[in-house]
């Protein structure tokens, strides 16, 4: 198997990449480098799923830029040291896209590249939804939508109590927002002025049954969060420069949690998935389709 990964990182290169080197927050990287990484992540997603009987395609493709911006620019981390105490935390509320995390984690030397080939297999450490006791780098397990904003809020309050400057990021699906527990957490985060908590909504406009607005409307989403006491932003979730700016702005907010509504396309990068994101929420891509998908991603500007 060949998983396309970035062999040279911005932060470090050569053999030393195995060392436990701290990756500071907002480390310099160009938007175009992030775009390139996002492209590679999309290719990785296809490869990783190909080892499993199926996978969540369209949902993971929509958040590629968000994830690479977080893991290659925003989060304070330590290479090879997934449990480093003073890391920033990232929780994958929309846990069904764990497949998009695994290549990023392998690249950070959280675990060997070879693990990627075991995705979704019996007893694998790399599961369809992330399991904190299986895969290094997972800050909390998820799978049932709607829980992780609460968990992240708990972490944010605990970090503050311990006087640590950790920042906690939670990625939510725009269908996940239907869950009442998200609003319980939203209410509580504003109440406790958890300014170290950032929610990113992957607003790809689609949940499992179809367009989110026709299944169960959530708009105006940014306004809803604002009315719940959050600072909220709305950005193009496929534009790395914009995302970098949004995260920078989020880190300036000192009295409120921040919600970044990232407008994205479900299935982004693969035309037939963009056209019917629902049929590719869960699927198995094979043969000519897989080749065509790879081709489209490689050739996109």
């Amino acid at each position: 198997m060949k998983v396309t990964t970035v062999t040279q990182s911005d932060e470090n290169d050569g053999d030393a990449s195995k060392a436990q080197i701290e990756l500071p927050r907002f480390r310099p990287v160009t938007a175009s480098a992030l775009h390139e990484r996002a492209r590679q992540l999309r290719l990785d997603i296809l490869e990783v799923i190909s080892h499993a009987p199926m996978g969540h395609y369209s949902s993971s493709l929509s958040c590629a830029e968000i994830l690479v911006t977080l893991y290659h620019h925003v989060l304070r981390l330590r290479r090879s040291d997934p449990d480093w105490q003073d890391r920033d935390r990232f929780l994958l509320g929309k846990g069904h896209v764990a497949v998009a995390l695994w290549p990023l984690f392998a690249e950070l030397d959280f675990f060997p590249q070879a693990w990627l080939q075991t995705f979704g297999q019996l007893g694998s450490k790399l599961t369809d939804h992330p399991d904190m006791h299986r895969a290094p780098g997972v800050d909390f397990s998820s799978g049932s939508l709607g829980h992780n904003l609460s968990v992240g809020l708990g972490m944010a309050l605990a970090a503050r109590r311990r006087q640590r400057d950790h920042r906690i990021y939670v990625l939510l699906g725009d269908g996940e927002i239907h869950e009442g527990q998200v609003w319980e957490a939203a209410m509580a985060a504003a109440h406790y002025k958890a300014a170290n908590l950032v929610a990113i909504v992957d607003a790809n406009g689609s949940c499992a049954d179809g367009p989110t607005e026709s299944v169960m409307g959530i708009e105006p989403l940014a306004e809803r969060f604002a009315s719940f006491g959050w600072h909220s932003l709305e950005v193009d979730g496929h534009d790395a420069a914009t995302l970098m700016g949004a995260f920078a702005q989020a880190s300036q907010c000192v009295d409120k949690p921040v919600c970044i509504v990232a407008r994205t396309l479900k299935g982004k990068g693969i035309s037939f998935m963009e056209a019917s994101p629902r049929e590719w929420h869960l699927g198995a891509l094979n043969g000519a389709d897989l080749e065509r998908a790879r081709q489209e991603i490689r050739e996109a500007e």
Binding site: M54, G120, Q121, S142, G143, S144
Partner: protein, 326 residues
């Protein structure tokens, strides 16, 4: 590899599956015959159970979005207007996530809501441990006023749609996605509060529910070839439980093995064991189910093998039980 029907898609081929899918057609027909049948589901309208109904009667499908608890309580409200409200949920996000709404708004209120709990047991094992639905028998059996059914296969499930009308109150139907060894060729007769005697026998009894019934039949057939006469009870009615059938099986066959795609704690095995103890029936007895620990992940087919939920292992356990002394 196969083993899970795609919960999300109308496109049956999206994920290779062993699922037969008669239930979907049965549900569509049931809806066709009775205009009072409505469906509520949390972002789960497509898929093999309700896809056909939703496509034919889109206006009778209320999508609740990914808000399971609201779906349950809303169903309770709609049912007060006399509708036959079905709620389809994924096993993992049904009884466990909505235990209170089921108890309080549906069972305590005695509204005739029918909950279709699909992809129960290990059906969504690929998705992860969060998606195992292995405690729902324990939870639902502890809810007064709720009828709990667990069809053995697709045909049995189809039969339970209309059978649920036998009771005035709410019904929880635990659907299995497994198609290892279907028990019925056609929708069987369903008598709530009774088990089905699918095989007669005198040397011992295997009581199975859901996939467990499929395995029980398979194991009995294997053991028959060895000259053993094994009774098989299909425990599709988990609440009320068929105590008479349990007592009779213990008296007449002297050995009971239960089989279920549920934790060994609080499921069919516990329920049957309790009956034996209450009746002070000295019986060879063993529970075959999933261990009470954090389980691993994988496709259902693989997990069944991994945890011994197979015909062979069921037969082996029965042999061991019969060889032991009481």
């Amino acid at each position: 590899m196969s083993g899970m029907s795609d919960p999300f898609s109308f496109n049956a081929g999206a994920v290779e599956s062993s699922y037969v899918g008669n239930l979907g057609e049965a549900f569509r027909r049931y809806g066709e015959q009775d205009e009072e049948v409505l469906l509520i589901s949390p972002d789960l309208g497509a898929g093999p159970v309700t896809g056909a109904f939703v496509q034919q009667f889109p206006e009778r499908f209320i999508d609740a979005g990914i808000a399971e608890c609201n779906a349950m309580s809303m169903a309770a409200g709609m049912a007060t207007y006399g509708y036959k409200v079905f709620v389809l949920q994924m096993g993992a996000f049904g009884a466990l996530k909505c235990a209170e709404q089921i108890r309080t708004d549906i069972a305590f209120s005695r509204v005739p809501v029918r909950i279709l709990s699909a992809w129960s047991g290990l059906a969504m094992g690929f998705f992860g441990t969060t998606h195992h639905a292995l405690e729902d028998i324990a939870i639902t059996r502890a809810i007064p006023g709720l009828t709990v059914l667990a069809p053995a296969d697709d045909n049995a499930a189809s039969a339970m749609l209309a059978a649920s009308e036998q009771v005035a109150g709410p019904v929880f139907i635990r659907l299995t996605d497994a198609n290892v060894n279907p028990v019925y060729d056609a929708p069987p007769e369903v008598r709530i509060g009774r088990f089905g005697r699918v095989r007669d026998g005198s040397d011992g009894t295997i009581i199975g529910t859901g996939l467990g019934a499929q395995l029980a039949v398979g194991a009995a057939d294997l053991l028959a070839a060895e000259g053993l006469s094994i009774r098989v009870l299909d425990a599709y009615s988990l609440k009320p439980l068929d105590e008479d059938a349990i007592v009779l099986a213990a008296r007449e066959t002297g050995a009971l093995l239960t089989v279920e795609e549920h934790l060994v704690t609080g499921g069919l095995g516990s329920a049957v064991g309790e009956v034996l103890a209450r009746n002070a029936l000295p019986t060879k007895f063993s529970i075959h189910g999933l261990p009470d620990e954090t389980l691993t992940v994988g496709m259902p087919d693989e997990l069944y093998v991994h945890y011994g939920l197979t015909i062979e292992e069921t037969a082996r356990r029965m042999r061991v039980l019969l060889a032991g002394k009481c």
